[in-house]
């Protein structure tokens, strides 16, 4: 397999050359790396302990001590914002991991075995693609909570988001598999006696990879939004510091009526920037892998 | 009628310009049938598209003039240019390509330029469209069908019918038979010859297939590496090819009466048009090349009405 490593490294540097030319892609990457840095260095960058309560300093708009102001308990919102990055990134990445694994597996099987199993799986993919995801996620979380499992809620959220987001990946993989399957070299591989898995791994996956990667990045964007929404609705762990939770408490403490815009706007803006970052990266990769999107004939 | 002088069309690329058409000149009279031949990438399609300025956004005409009935198309305003397009000069693209709009009926697509350029009623336009369809050998009733319901050969006929819609003076045919099987190819060739006879059309036929040119053209222009290397009437080209590239091209065709040998192909590959060589662009592959050929671009020498761009003739 060493024969595939060297061309891979070469195509990687080639890819980077093209990618760095895309303004959208570079900007997205900067945004995402910025948030990763903050998440990693949270302990060093944060001026206060986000859970520190200061009853004398509640409902304060941004000031020289609390750059983003304080909430109803006197928490420093700037520190909360910094720590909130961690939850968003963790849930986003891990949930996407689940989605990609499940989606790739189902997509591969569905595309490769085109008879009964493939057709059936295609219907399943389509079904999950169109069912409204939010009610489903809410119900799943409710089920877990009612079951009173010892699993920490964070992982429940990760699982639920992951398990509802696989259909996009599956669809892409499936159509790619169908296309690649037609090509001759798969016929030849089979003629030589290569087993099914070998064909899938060695021939189909490398061709499918760029699109899957783009899709994965976009899935992270969606996962972050989903997590924020679940937290906001109060379904997440109320003891975690996350942007969604911040908004949850903001709303349940009538921040809107008290005009506490500093509690509401920054988390939203942070979410927007993080999601935008991932989306821009995803779109860039898509554009690069699909030459037609650049407006020229393939 | 059509005079192309020193046409230069370049494509913008990373690191410079691709000199797809570099100083090309030729002349076309009324009713003449010119064949533009050369291998893929030699610039023949770009040259033809330049005539009506149908170039992609990364290409532009860098110099020269294209005189149609005395007016320079290169310097023309957009509005004037659009009036010339199709009404005076039309193009037949390869029908095998997606050159027909898949969601519109054939009759609509043929009637479209008629309605655009002439003041006729919709009724009349569609009447004419149906007649044109018949003219090229397709059943009139099929005019209301969609492109995907036709075979490759029939789509080519439709393209031809469409090109004739406004009774143009010049029709450019870009590889009209390349993607077709031999039977259909002959049919289309016959159709083109028939049309040339019946209507006083000038045609420019672009192809890499010399046999088609032999069948349908009076004059031939051979292009190589973005430049015109030989120009003569069709008989002279085949009987007395002067440029080594031309003779190479002709030799590369198996002769049904000749000896049973592998045809000789031309060694080497076409020049990189981003950084073309200074001297004769064919020199690297030419068996007769020497010091003279690598120095300056060759002048065109004349032998009667037979032009050739080679030091050695």
């Amino acid at each position: 397999m060493s024969g595939t490593l060297i061309p891979f490294r070469r195509s990687l540097s080639q890819f980077w050359r093209v990618y760095s030319g895309s303004k959208k892609g570079v900007l997205g990457l900067i945004l995402v790396l910025f948030f990763f840095a903050i998440a990693a260095l949270a302990a060093y960058v944060s001026p206060f302990d986000p859970r520190l309560i200061d009853p004398g300093r509640t409902w304060l708009p941004p000031n020289s001590v609390n750059w983003f102001g304080t909430d109803w308990f006197g928490h420093d919102l700037f520190s909360q914002m910094i720590y909130g990055t961690q939850v968003s990134l963790i849930v986003g990445m891990f949930a996407t991991l689940i989605s990609i694994i499940v989606g790739t597996a189902i997509g591969l099987f569905s595309g490769y075995y085109s008879k009964m199993l493939g057709e059936f799986l295609e219907r399943v993919i389509d079904f999950f693609l169109v069912i409204p995801y939010l009610p489903l996620m809410i119900v799943l979380v409710a089920i877990f909570e009612a079951m009173e499992t010892p699993i920490p809620i964070l992982w429940v959220i990760i699982f639920v988001v992951g398990i509802t987001g696989w259909s996009g990946t599956a669809r892409i993989i499936r159509s790619q598999v169908l296309t690649v399957k037609e090509r001759q070299f798969v016929e030849r591989a089979r003629a030589v006696g290569a087993g099914d898995f070998r064909i899938m791994a060695k021939h189909i996956l490398p061709n499918v990879f760029p699109l899957v990667f783009a899709n994965a990045v976009l899935t992270v964007a969606g996962a972050v939004l989903a997590e924020v929404t679940l937290d906001f609705l109060g379904l997440g762990d109320v003891t975690t510091i996350s942007w969604g939770m911040m908004l949850h408490f903001a709303l349940s403490n009538s921040a809107v009526y008290r005009g506490a815009w500093w509690w509401i706007v920054p988390p939203g803006v942070a979410i927007i920037l993080l999601v935008m970052g991932f989306t821009m990266i995803g779109y860039s990769i898509e554009e690069i892998s699909n030459p037609r999107l650049r407006g020229r004939k393939a | 009628m059509l005079d192309v002088h020193n046409l230069r069309t370049f494509y913008r690329a990373d690191g410079g310009y691709v000199k797809a058409v570099d100083d090309v000149s030729f002349h076309l009279d009324e009713g003449e049938a010119l064949g533009l031949a050369g291998e893929s990438g030699c610039g023949k399609t770009t040259a033809a598209l330049s005539i009506v300025r149908l170039l992609p956004s990364n290409a532009s005409i860098m110099g020269g003039e294209v005189l149609y009935k005395g007016q320079d198309i290169v310097k023309m305003s957009g509005r004037k240019l659009r009036r010339i397009r199709w009404k005076e000069i039309s193009i037949v693209f390869q029908g095998a390509m997606n050159a027909l709009n898949p969601v519109k009926r054939i009759a609509d697509q043929i009637a479209e330029p008629i309605l655009l350029h002439e003041k006729v009623s919709k009724e009349d336009a569609f009447q004419r469209a149906r007649k044109l369809v018949e003219f090229v050998g397709i059943d009139k009733a099929r005019a209301k069908d969609y492109p995907h319901e036709f075979s490759g050969g029939m789509r080519q006929r439709v393209m031809i019918a469409m090109a004739l819609a406004c009774s143009p003076r010049l029709v450019i045919l870009d590889e009209p038979t390349t993607a077709l099987d031999v039977m259909t190819k002959t049919q289309i060739q016959e159709l083109v010859k028939d049309l040339q006879k019946r209507l006083t059309l000038s045609t420019i036929l672009i192809t890499h297939d010399l046999s088609v040119i032999a069948e349908t053209c009076e004059k031939v222009a051979i292009m190589y590496g973005g430049q015109l290397v030989e120009y003569a009437d069709v008989v002279s080209i085949f009987e007395k090819p002067l440029h080594p590239y031309t003779s190479g091209l002709i030799r590369a065709f198996p002769n049904i009466y000749g000896s049973r040998e592998l045809p000789l192909s031309i060694p080497g590959s076409p020049p990189d048009l981003l950084h073309p060589p200074d001297g004769c662009r064919f020199a690297p592959r030419c068996s007769m090349a020497d010091k003279e050929c690598s120095e300056a671009p060759p002048a065109k020498t004349v032998s009667g009405n037979h032009y050739v761009a080679c030091w050695k003739r």
Partner: protein, 294 residues
């Protein structure tokens, strides 16, 4: 489904004789084996009897029927605007790919797509309802208001609808913008566009007559798929604006563990999704002559 519904109905902390619980279970058919419950549910559903809501003490079908029109109004208006806006902006953006309009339009769309729907709603309420007092804060009509005529009713409902519609529209339209833009860019590389130009058509004519009709094809398919996201967005919007639609109803059904109601709601969701997909399929067969209705 977890959480024995019978126990939930009975206020916590009270000591209830087991016999009462048993009788309640019998009333709601909870004592029969699970499979029987499923079968009878399907049978009932097919007869449009969706069961009885625990919380509302009324037939599920009635409850849903009361709340559904509000959602249809909200989602209907929002999506129509979003599609029109998204497609037209996307077409121009694709046509002027890389130029200022494209960059501005796609950036704007990207930003609104990345917004959590509920957050946008909250911000709009904060600015327009609380601070500026222009629009009402929630609900679909002013309570206890008697309408003098139909115009007044439309006006009142309209005022209540404006902010929720803006919220839902802004977040959805970006998807339509992107798909139209991308399929337009794709179509522009096709050969028949060159043919159209060669005929002497102006750029605008080429766009309207040849490019857009072809770019619509993949766009229509996407609309159907987007439906799943629309429901999620509508749910959030209704919750924030206390809008009495089935999104809000779903949320409350989950809160109060009203499972029959929830089942009915999921069923309605599924039906709506199927209808939407079906409609998209039919529309597609109309606009693409290569596809015949099956």
């Amino acid at each position: 489904m977890p959480g024995d519904p019978a126990r939930i109905l009975i206020p916590r902390g009270h000591n209830v004789p087991l016999s009462l619980i048993a009788r309640m279970r019998e009333f709601y058919g909870l004592d029969k084996p699970l499979l029987t419950q499923l079968v009878s549910y399907v049978a009932q559903t097919l007869q449009l009897d969706l069961g009885y809501s625990f919380y509302y003490k009324a037939p599920v079908a009635d409850v849903i029927a009361a709340w559904l029109p509000n959602t249809l109004l909200l989602v209907g208006i929002s999506e129509v605007i979003a599609i029109l806006l998204g497609f037209s902006t996307g077409a121009i953006a694709g046509w002027r790919r890389g130029k200022r309009f494209d960059i501005i339009a796609t950036s704007f769309g990207l930003t609104t797509w990345s917004m959590p729907t509920f957050w946008l709603g909250i911000v709009l309420i904060m600015v327009f309802s609380v601070q500026l007092g222009i629009f009402p804060v929630g609900g679909v009509r002013t309570a206890e208001m008697a309408y003098a005529n139909i115009l007044q009713q439309i006006g009142d409902v309209g005022m209540h609808l404006i902010l929720p519609v803006i919220t839902l529209t802004l977040v959805s339209f970006a998807e339509y913008l992107m798909i139209m833009r991308n399929s337009l860019v794709d179509v522009m590389t096709e050969d028949f566009v060159l043919t159209a130009r060669a005929k002497g058509l102006t750029e605008q004519q080429v766009l309207k007559s040849h490019v857009v009709p072809n770019a619509l094809l993949p766009s229509v398919t996407t609309v159907a798929i987007a439906f799943g996201f629309i429901v999620g967005g509508a749910l959030q919007t209704e919750i924030i604006f206390s809008y009495p639609g089935i999104g809000m109803l779903t949320y409350m059904a989950i809160e109060f563990r009203d499972y029959t109601l929830l089942q009915g709601l999921f069923f309605i969701d599924a039906v709506l999704v199927i209808i939407a997909n079906f409609a998209a399929d039919i529309i597609y067969t109309y606009i693409d002559p290569r596809v015949k209705f099956q």
